[in-house]
């Protein structure tokens, strides 16, 4: 997180243009399935980013992100059924999921620590059960097909790339803004942030609203590109996915969640093709390792390496 913070705008912009160019021409080098995989990794990266804003920046370990992912996905379904266009539908997904973020955040804002984890976990269990129970609305565990014409793989990719870039820019601006500073203060030391005049409730609810909206965007994109939705979108293991990606990638950074999501999407794809059911074992081991040995994730490792080069070349 220090690297991101210490970079000035010009440097950041250069990196951004380079990365964007690489991603822009990427489909030319990739097979059709790789395009699908990268598209999915980007969507999941946006989803993990939404969790990272809540955890990595505001310090709340939420296992409830799947609620907003699911809400966003179903918003797209019904928005399409109502004949609305893609852009409007995605916006709607952001707003509806953001509204749910506001409600959920408002309800749980006073809870702290390990209990917060429990409350959000039970929250996503509840939403999943509600989705199962209201099959007329959600299609239950079997789900529903989203009524849309599938666009081409490349169109999908560029759409998702565009949305991801927007989300990243938004997040970068947000975390470097005074508001972002307040969130980091709350993460680092709630008590003092309160003593300095910041209403913890207000800022936590704001974070949940923003995080919810972005998760809804990811859910909406997912529903659109995969063409289906199901109650499983709400399942708390989806929340856990976001947690794992973010921790492995590097919490408290904007790039980390994308790294984590991409890494695990690729690892899961390779592993499940090679050895099948050993994947969860690997992920579990990686998570333990990450927590105990490199709590700042892959991004933290990368950053450390780069710092070492800097130190070497300087000396």
């Amino acid at each position: 997180m220090q690297m991101e913070a210490s970079w000035n705008l010009g440097k950041l912009l250069t990196v951004f243009v380079v990365v964007l160019t690489v991603f822009g021409v990427l489909p030319l080098f990739l097979g059709r399935f790789q395009v699908v995989l990268v598209t999915e990794a980007l969507i999941l990266g946006v989803y993990a980013l939404s969790f990272d804003l809540i955890f990595g920046y505001a310090g709340m370990l939420s296992f409830g992100q799947s609620i907003f992912f699911g809400v966003g996905a179903y918003t797209i379904l019904y928005s399409f059924k109502g004949g609305l266009g893609l852009a409007v539908s995605l916006l709607l997904a952001v707003f509806v999921a953001g509204f749910f973020g506001l409600l959920v955040g408002g309800a749980i804002v006073r809870i702290k620590g390990a209990k917060f984890f429990l409350v959000t976990l039970v929250g996503s269990i509840l939403f999943y059960l509600l989705a199962l129970d209201n099959r007329w609305l959600t299609g239950g565990s079997d789900g529903m097909v989203v009524p849309t014409v599938f666009p081409g793989l490349a169109e999908n990719y560029y759409l998702v790339l565009g949305v991801s870039v927007t989300a990243i820019l938004f997040a970068l601006i947000l975390v470097r803004s005074p508001l972002g500073l307040v969130l980091k203060m709350i993460r680092d030391n709630e008590r003092r942030a309160g003593l300095l005049g910041y209403s913890l409730k207000k800022y936590k609810v704001i974070t949940f609203t923003i995080g919810g909206g972005i998760a809804g965007l990811a859910g909406g994109l997912y529903a659109y590109t995969s063409g289906f939705v199901s109650a499983g979108f709400f399942h708390w293991t989806r929340s856990a996915d976001a947690v794992v990606w973010t921790i492995l990638g590097g919490a408290g950074t904007v790039v980390g969640p994308f790294l984590g999501a991409a890494l695990l999407t690729v690892v899961s794809d390779i592993l499940s093709a090679v050895v099948g059911n050993i994947y969860p074992v690997v992920v579990g081991a990686l998570l333990v390792l990450a927590v105990v040995v490199f709590p700042r994730g892959v991004f933290g490792l990368l950053e450390g390496t780069i710092r070492n080069w800097k130190g070497d070349s300087g000396g």
Binding site: M1, Q2, A5, S177, P178, L179, L181, V182, K184, M185, R187, D188, N189, R191, R192, A193, G194, L195, L196, G197, Y198, S199, L200
Partner: protein
């Protein structure tokens, strides 16, 4: 607008109980604008509890607090902070992962969307004031204890308080930093330098008798949750219980564990 000589803070019958334990009992207290008040008393006497009640960090069991003519008894800590009461906690309380500059900027900023230039300049002024200008880019966690305390003070001042509540500002702090802190508090409490920060009053708790009897206008002595005496330093010194306390201070200091601190 509060003028020198008018009442800044008016406390009536303030009490606090934890599960039946009386941390503070029927405390009456007032502070005139322009005055500095020192609070002394043994550990567990309720000094921190008093300051935290005034700051709104913990809930009042009974009694009332009026600040600048406004009842603030029921307000939460962020509201009182925004009204101009700033509380500097007993132990250093900084944002460890953020830089020194970010710590102060976070306290000083007045907009949520934009980094305003006048915020930036006040951050710089404050850092220079406490002597941390050179350390602006260091992460707070890496600061030694004394500098953390300086940072604490800079943050407490950054909110532009009218009343500063400082809880043992020099306890455990190295000599150099302690002098900086005391010098600042003393300067800030001089009428002509108050204009810079708009500070109208200061209440602090302290163990060290030299500091205590150095510059405050009034001193209060807390014992077992009760405000035994509150008067000008000379009068307080002559009070029997205070004399006892001062004589035995070494004994008190050896006593570990402050009952009020974590409650």
């Amino acid at each position: 607008m509060i003028r020198v000589g008018e009442t800044l803070l008016e406390v009536r019958g303030l009490s606090k109980r934890y599960d039946g334990f009386r941390a503070l009992e029927e405390v009456d207290l007032s502070l005139q604008a322009g005055h500095v008040k020192g609070i002394m008393g043994p550990n567990g006497a309720g000094k921190s509890t008093l300051l935290r009640l005034l700051a709104g960090e913990i809930e009042v069991t009974s009694g009332s607090v009026v600040f600048a003519g406004r009842a603030v008894t029921e307000l939460s800590v962020d509201r009182t902070s925004n009204l101009g009461i700033s509380y500097m906690p007993q132990r250093p309380s900084v944002f460890p992962a953020l830089t020194v500059e970010e710590n102060v900027r976070g306290a000083a900023q007045t907009s949520l969307i934009l980094n305003r230039t006048d915020d930036e300049s006040s951050v710089k002024t404050l850092l220079d004031l406490v002597g941390l200008g050179e350390r602006a880019g260091v992460r707070a966690v890496e600061l030694p204890f004394g500098e953390k305390r300086l940072l604490d003070l800079a943050m407490a001042l950054a909110t532009r308080p009218r009343l500063l509540l400082a809880d043992e500002p020099t306890a455990g702090v190295d000599r150099g930093s302690a002098e900086t802190i005391l010098g600042l508090l003393r300067d800030l409490s001089l009428p002509d330098s108050r204009g810079d920060f708009g500070l109208k009053g200061l209440i602090f708790t302290e163990h060290d008798r030299e500091i205590l009897f150095d510059f405050p206008d009034e001193i209060g002595f807390l014992h077992a949750g009760e405000l035994i005496v509150e008067d000008v330093p000379e009068q307080v010194k002559s009070h029997e219980l205070v004399r006892n306390y001062l004589a035995n201070q070494r004994v008190f200091e050896d006593f570990k564990g402050d009952v009020g601190k974590d409650a």
